[in-house]
Symmetry: C2
């Protein structure tokens, strides 16, 4: 399901607001308890919309939670995109992307909950970090910066490694998260064919500053 | 919880058999439906043991399923170990280990179910594939074959990448699983600091034959 087009009139705007309220309530549930066994009645109450309107927007509770996950992943991906604006080298984008994903995990708790529990299912997703990473992988291969057997295998390695790092950090937090993230970024660049010395240099560069 | 010592008398043997019957039933449930909401009564029936004996062995249903997961992972690890007997180079062991993990996935369906759903939580486990991989990583670093920031980060990359590949293959099976596994093994060797040409050569070698 893709993001709906901007609403064109008052009815459409109200309809979009109701839908977004349901998605927002589902995201809060994912962030706070992660307990998706909650009733539709309860979700509608938390969203402050009528119970009856639920099925105008979603076929099932699972469909709502799927959309909530994709909505959170997409927001996370956009936030990282913004930080990467003006960074052109695919190797730098991948390294910064890994490190920003880790550093921003704290500000997107629902995304983290979801990634920890169902993350492997989202590595091939067409929203969130994956399509963005896939673009960088393909660009890097096209300009001869990266080498790999297939972009899907490279994406699986990148996504799986990042999820494992996020999971490790959530169970054994250490003082400096960027140390681990830099080490992982360096490992990923080597995996993509960047020579070890250069991988180390790129992974150690200061992160792009926020505007 | 570690594997119990071999039983010493008839009472201990019977006790061990009851425990193993419960673990076996839990493993079948994981393999077949993955539905851990089944009642303890039902598990005891499937194990053909008295309901009352359950709590002599496990404090809760979760504890039983945890043990079933570790039991399956350990069996999987031992099976891969056997195939790797006589392979000494840590790089070859890691590459073959990745490929054997993928090729043996079909013969360990409960392990696969578990890894797909809770695999990230088992990357730091002290049973199954992880402690074996960690040994190879440490040996490889000690003899100067591998280079990485920390064995934990290397293990996270290796485990996460393998899980992502297993997940990808379970949702989009292709004709030759070893093609994907070879590509991933090559990527992992590069990640560990093996030069690209050598990584390709090692990842392409014929798998050790079964005795």
């Amino acid at each position: 399901m893709s993001t709906p087009a901007p609403p064109s009139n008052r009815f459409e705007r109200r309809r979009a607001a109701t839908r977004q309220a349901l998605v927002g309530a589902a995201r809060r549930i994912l962030a706070e308890s992660g307990d998706t066994s909650v009733s539709i009645q309860m979700i509608a109450e938390q969203a402050d919309v009528g119970f009856g309107s639920f099925y105008n927007h979603f076929a099932s509770k699972d469909a709502l939670f799927d959309e909530a996950v994709l909505d959170a992943l997409e927001e996370y991906g956009r936030a990282i995109d913004e930080r990467l604006e003006g960074v052109d080298d695919p190797a730098e984008r991948i390294a910064f992307g890994v490190r920003l994903s880790v550093s921003m995990a704290g500000t997107h708790p629902e995304t983290m909950q979801v990634l920890r529990h169902q993350g492997l299912a989202h590595i091939q997703s067409d929203r969130g970090l994956s399509p963005r990473a896939l673009d960088d992988l393909r660009t890097g291969a096209a300009i001869g910066r990266f080498s790999f057997a297939s972009p899907e295998i490279a994406l699986a390695a990148l996504g799986g490694s990042l999820l494992a790092l996020l999971h490790m950090r959530s169970t054994r937090p250490t003082a400096d998260s960027d140390d681990d993230a830099r080490a992982m970024a360096e490992a990923m660049l080597r995996m993509l064919g960047i020579p070890p010395d250069e991988a180390h240099t790129i992974a150690s560069r200061p992160l792009p500053v926020r505007d």
